[in-house]
Symmetry: C2
């Protein structure tokens, strides 16, 4: 039997127990996880050091090394994150609706766990904790499939979670880590419908596309965000500049960072926004029309002519594409063509224009006069999230605890049969 | 360009228009569809006759011929079904939640269409109408892929729908039928993520498994129902008998019909239920233990010893498996092993036993003292459904109008940026 068959069946069994735990039992286990993460931080850090050493030997990039790297402070932040999940309301067992039928049937729609979640992710070890505790709080078992570069860190973290679960008498199989990180095992994992109810991939475009193209287990697609900020002709100058700068530079490496600036041809202060971006050190890929309008730009450092390849590009860095559009219609068409249904923003004082944009853009979040960076579970007031969904089935946008649930109908009868 | 690329891109374009139609505009179009179905019934019937003739030449089974066959009455019923959808509330544009954030952002969660629905189904031409109007009422475009045996009927129905849409000025591309019914085109269809947002397969086990194993577009799994009725030791005799008979014989060919009877060993009237089923003409596949308990059974017509193969079988006919279980635990384990998460029923007067069953069974519907046949959109009071979901993501159980929607977040700001 493969590792996936063994761990899958164990996860499925443990899910039956998890589904019946009370909120108090789950919170008690979570508090123990938070405690042991802190008291056993040294053990985690020494295994993390092994991963970092191996990463250096393999010459992985400094930014990847940084994402892989743990510290006492980062572990403390992970433990605090767990305690925040304790404070979130437990969606499981909530009756969402009750229907009283003329024949006397009473039908309750009750929130239940999804079952077993398969999580596929890249190098950040904090995802190991975040995903485990969000799944656990919602009564789901989870099977984690991290990258080989973080294997020792992930094993150390899962060991601590197992110790915590054992101390409070909860099945350790609730949280499992796949240790076989070769490519074939991923394929087996994402086609294991017998034991896995839903897959959540979190990582780069290639990882997500591989899962989407090959999985038979239902996938909750997360992440890829080619987000636009459209500055309408009726935008307020200072607001427009601030929102563009914030959307692009506040944290360029994440999915809700903006990648393309669309400027209405009649917006008079486009050059100021462009200069402000250049001052922040943003490299700009500028369309021909814009370069014609502002001839000084060509001379400036950091300005390059845009090509067709720039429009679909998610730079995830201090780079941005810039395009002048003739109308709201052209902006909408550009977003339709190149957007990834994540977050799209308009800046305008014209409420009719804003309303058209809000209605017609097909994305998880459509923002009027607000930075794209707000698409986030904490910013929405939902608390920790397992990812941002960019698909339309099941959940869209920030996926927190309620999005990790399903429901079932309890039909209470007194002997009713169908006529 | 393939038929799917052409019709897919047209559907995607029309979906933009559909998403913005008012409820009145949609209902107006639906009323016109209902009207033209009736006034143009002859045209549909003459094309249906072509399909029936071809079916007879190919020696398709009488039950399949019956499902394929239309009549004035059946077309009238289809038109009435459309009018019922007019009366259902329109979920599109409903604000499901509003969040006022401390920074002044107002975030609205608003219900929107899924976009383009891909529907794959077998011979019943009425599905062509049902699916089209449910999709249309929820602002979705739909691409229909019926079976070759119903192609002429489906073309005639879609022609009528197109005429109705044209009369009221709605894009005809809202409803499209794939006319290429060869196998390769299915594969292209279910992997066409560029134009299709969700797939709904409706039909037999093979059709659904083919879609699940090969699709890259998200799938809403419907249908397969290996449903059980468990008669507890504390069941009321008359009620138990009535519920079993109704669950099995009321309409044996559908997914919410029961397939296995589980009898608690201490329930004293098991033989009466078995005899009642035999009297109704149900063929029974009976486990060894049950045959030992009731030695007379062996002699009776319609009784066969059960084999391991009977437990996972969905007969969809006047056949049923019968098994004696030692306990509620054994019943739960059997359902866990062989059930398909559709509908499971317990008959008992013991509320503790019922509660355990309701809590622990993992199915779309868990019924206490009520026939399995109630898992149905109309019986729940939801109205017409596009199928019964047996998966846990997106929707579970009867899928009506709300289940054909997604949502997006409208973020209303006054210049907020993220600190």
């Amino acid at each position: 039997m493969s590792e996936i068959t063994v761990k899958g069946s164990q996860a499925k069994e443990s899910a039956k127990v998890l589904a019946l735990l009370s909120t108090a039992e789950k919170n008690n286990a979570l508090m123990k996880i938070a405690e042991l993460l802190e008291t056993k931080a040294e053990e985690i850090l020494s295994e993390n050091a092994v991963d970092l050493q191996k990463g250096k030997e393999k010459n992985i990039s400094p930014s990847l090394l940084d994402r892989l790297s743990l510290s006492k402070e980062r572990i403390k932040a992970m433990a605090d994150g767990v305690r925040e999940v304790v404070d979130l309301p437990d969606p499981i067992g909530v009756i969402k609706d009750t229907f009283h039928r003329p024949n006397g049937l009473v039908i309750e729609k009750i929130q239940v766990p999804l079952g077993v979640i398969g999580m596929i992710y890249e190098a950040r070890p904090n995802v190991t904790v975040d995903a485990s505790v969000l799944a656990f709080k919602t009564g789901n078992a989870i099977i984690l499939r991290g990258s080989s570069s973080a294997l020792n860190s992930n094993k150390a973290i899962v060991k601590v979670i197992h110790e915590a679960l054992e101390e409070v008498g909860v099945p350790q199989n609730a949280v499992q880590l796949l240790e076989d990180t070769n490519h074939d095992s991923v394929t087996e994992f994402i086609r294991c419908n017998e034991y896995i109810d839903v897959l959540i991939p979190r990582g780069g475009k290639n990882l997500i596309e591989n899962v989407l193209n090959n999985a038979t287990v239902p996938v909750l697609k997360t992440g890829v965000g080619n987000c636009h900020v459209y500055i309408d002709k009726d935008a307020k100058p200072d607001m427009a500049k601030e929102i563009v700068i914030n959307s692009k530079t506040h944290r360029p490496s994440v999915c809700n960072a903006a990648e393309t600036l669309l400027l209405h041809k009649d917006y008079p202060y486009g050059e100021e926004i462009i200069n402000a971006l250049l001052e922040q050190g943003v490299i700009l890929h500028v369309c021909e029309d814009t370069l014609k309008r502002y001839p000084d730009l060509k001379e400036k450092e950091g300005v390059q002519p845009a090509t067709e390849e720039d429009w679909p590009t998610e730079y995830l860095d201090m780079e941005m594409a810039v395009k002048t559009v003739d109308s709201l219609e052209e902006a909408l068409l550009h977003i339709d063509t190149y957007g990834t249904n994540h977050t799209e923003c308009i800046v305008t004082e014209n409420t009719d224009t804003a309303e058209t944009f809000l209605k017609r853009v097909d994305a998880a979040a459509v923002n009027h006069n607000a930075s794209t960076r707000f698409t986030d579970g904490f910013e929405y007031g939902f608390g920790a999230e397992i990812g941002i969904s960019t698909q339309k089935t099941h959940a869209r946008g920030p996926m927190g605890l309620p999005e990790l649930t399903s429901y079932k109908f309890l039909v209470h009868g007194t002997g009713q049969i169908r006529k």
